[in-house]
């Protein structure tokens, strides 16, 4: 059998997804046996022009991590789509927008202002901000355009498979690589490397009736390790999250933050989480309901932590962002 032609790419990403691939450890040697790597910026020195020179459809499989935040991300997404037979949105950023997608609560101007001026650690007396074009004696320098909104990979090009996780857990990455090498893939458009149920269905904690009068943060409260976290008032995204990670966080006594995205049949992960949280509030009295619910810090950021760009509203709706 001919070796699989594999490409890996990172767009608006943190590097964690590439580390998840490296974390398959000695199995990486097996990957080298099964596949020829044609592009992998984190590990190997290839240039975009090498990819541009390939015939269309030359790459068998491209694992693309990161969201689409700027014009370079978009350009490479289109290029790799053209050159690849199978394009996989790898990790929650490519799949749903992920953590970089939280910036969609703000406008481009607000993001730049915050980063280049307002944060406590910024020292920028000259008020220097990135420019798309700069003339220096040696010629003109260019930076990619920073877009108003973060997009998911499938909001830019057609995606064949989605591999969720921030980052995807190593065993799932390996299982998917093996399935690809064996040509053993589900129908295009499927989520791979995860289950078809919600995390709560696979969680082993004791579950009873969920009724709470107080929400709590793990910063100040150590949850009982046996009982459902949501029943203890700790916001756990298990009800609105696809199983597949092996309940990693929950086993470490931390609430699920929702990185595997919505379970099958759920369009908007945040709305589903909103319902789940509202339903545990133990009161019929409007004033008390308000008091309990007001304890939740940043509900939109919590419920849409990984899925804002792929959600029904995509991000904030203010005139400035239009």
């Amino acid at each position: 059998m001919a070796k699989l032609k594999l490409a890996l790419y990172w767009a608006a990403a943190c590097g964690g997804c590439d580390v998840a691939v490296l974390d398959i450890n000695e199995r990486i040697l097996k990957v080298a046996e099964l596949a020829d790597l044609l592009l992998w910026p984190v590990a190997l020195d290839f240039k975009y022009r090498h990819v541009e020179a390939m015939p269309d459809g030359h790459i068998d499989v491209c694992l693309f991590n990161g969201a689409v935040r700027n014009s370079e991300n978009e350009h490479v997404a289109r290029l790799l789509r053209k050159k690849s037979k199978v394009l996989v949105a790898f990790g929650s950023c490519a799949y749903m927008g992920g953590i970089p997608g939280l910036a969609n609560f703000f406008s481009r101007r607000e993001v730049l202002q915050h980063v280049y001026s307002d944060t406590a650690s910024t020292v920028n007396p000259g008020g220097t901000v990135p420019l798309e074009k700069v003339r220096i004696p040696a010629g003109e320098l260019e930076l990619p355009t920073f877009f108003q909104r973060v997009r998911t990979l499938d909001q830019v090009v057609l995606v064949d498979y989605y591999l969720p996780g921030c980052p995807p857990v190593v065993d799932q990455v390996w299982a998917v690589i093996e399935a690809i090498a064996a040509g053993n893939l589900p129908p295009p458009g499927s989520v791979v490397g995860a289950s078809d149920s919600a995390l709560c269905d696979e969680c082993e904690r004791k579950k009873d009736e969920k009724k709470i009068k107080q929400f709590r943060s793990v910063a100040t409260y150590r949850p009982d390790p046996e009982t459902c976290l949501l029943e203890q008032g700790v916001i756990c995204c298990g009800p609105a999250t696809r199983a597949g990670c092996g309940a990693k966080c929950v086993k470490a006594n931390m609430p699920c933050r929702g990185c595997y995205g919505p379970p099958p049949g759920v369009t908007d992960q945040g709305a589903k989480m909103l319902s789940a949280v509202a339903s545990v509030v133990d009161s019929d009295d409007p004033a008390e309901v308000e008091r309990i619910i007001s304890q939740i810090q940043d509900p939109a950021g919590t419920f849409y932590r990984f899925s804002l760009p792929s959600s029904l509203l995509n991000g904030a709706h203010r005139k400035e962002i239009a």
């Binding site: 909104r149 709305a271 019929d284 619910i293 509900p299 509203l313 991000g315 709706h317 239009a322």
Partner: protein, 136 residues
């Protein structure tokens, strides 16, 4: 052309839908801006419905159910109230103005009340302008 808001009204079958019907049979004149969707109970209103409506071009969403204590399924309207309390906060973070999404109690005999809620909501949203315009 002046802007006419499109409002999706999601009404519970037993009280609010009957109340809206009464507004019609009693020939009360009110703003024609609301498109009514009937559900069995306000407790059936998933926040996803509200987001779908806004995404699909609605400028506002009215959820209406039986007064507290009157829900035909005992507690559906309390469930709606808890969800709405949280939805309000989430929508605020999304920059959706409070006047666009409302939860109201309307009984089967309150045709007048239904009409005045729709009029008030229509006026307030007309002043805000279309929702889509503020969309990226």
């Amino acid at each position: 052309m002046t802007f006419e808001p499109k409002i999706v009204g999601i009404l519970c079958n037993w009280c609010s839908y009957t109340g809206a019907d009464l507004a019609g049979t009693a020939r009360i004149t009110y703003a024609p801006n609301v498109r009514i969707v009937r559900v069995m109970c306000s407790g059936r209103v998933d926040p996803t419905f509200v987001l779908h409506a806004l995404r699909g071009g609605a400028d506002g969403v009215l959820i209406a159910g039986c007064h507290p204590g009157d829900c035909h399924y005992q507690a559906g309207n309390y469930k709606a109230m808890r969800r709405y309390e949280l939805l309000k906060r989430v929508l605020d973070q999304f920059g959706v103005e409070p006047a666009r999404v409302r939860l109201e109690w309307v009984s089967a005999s309150e045709g007048e009340r239904f009409a005045s809620i729709v009029n008030d909501m229509t006026d307030k949203i007309r002043a805000l302008g279309p929702f889509k315009e503020a969309q990226g």
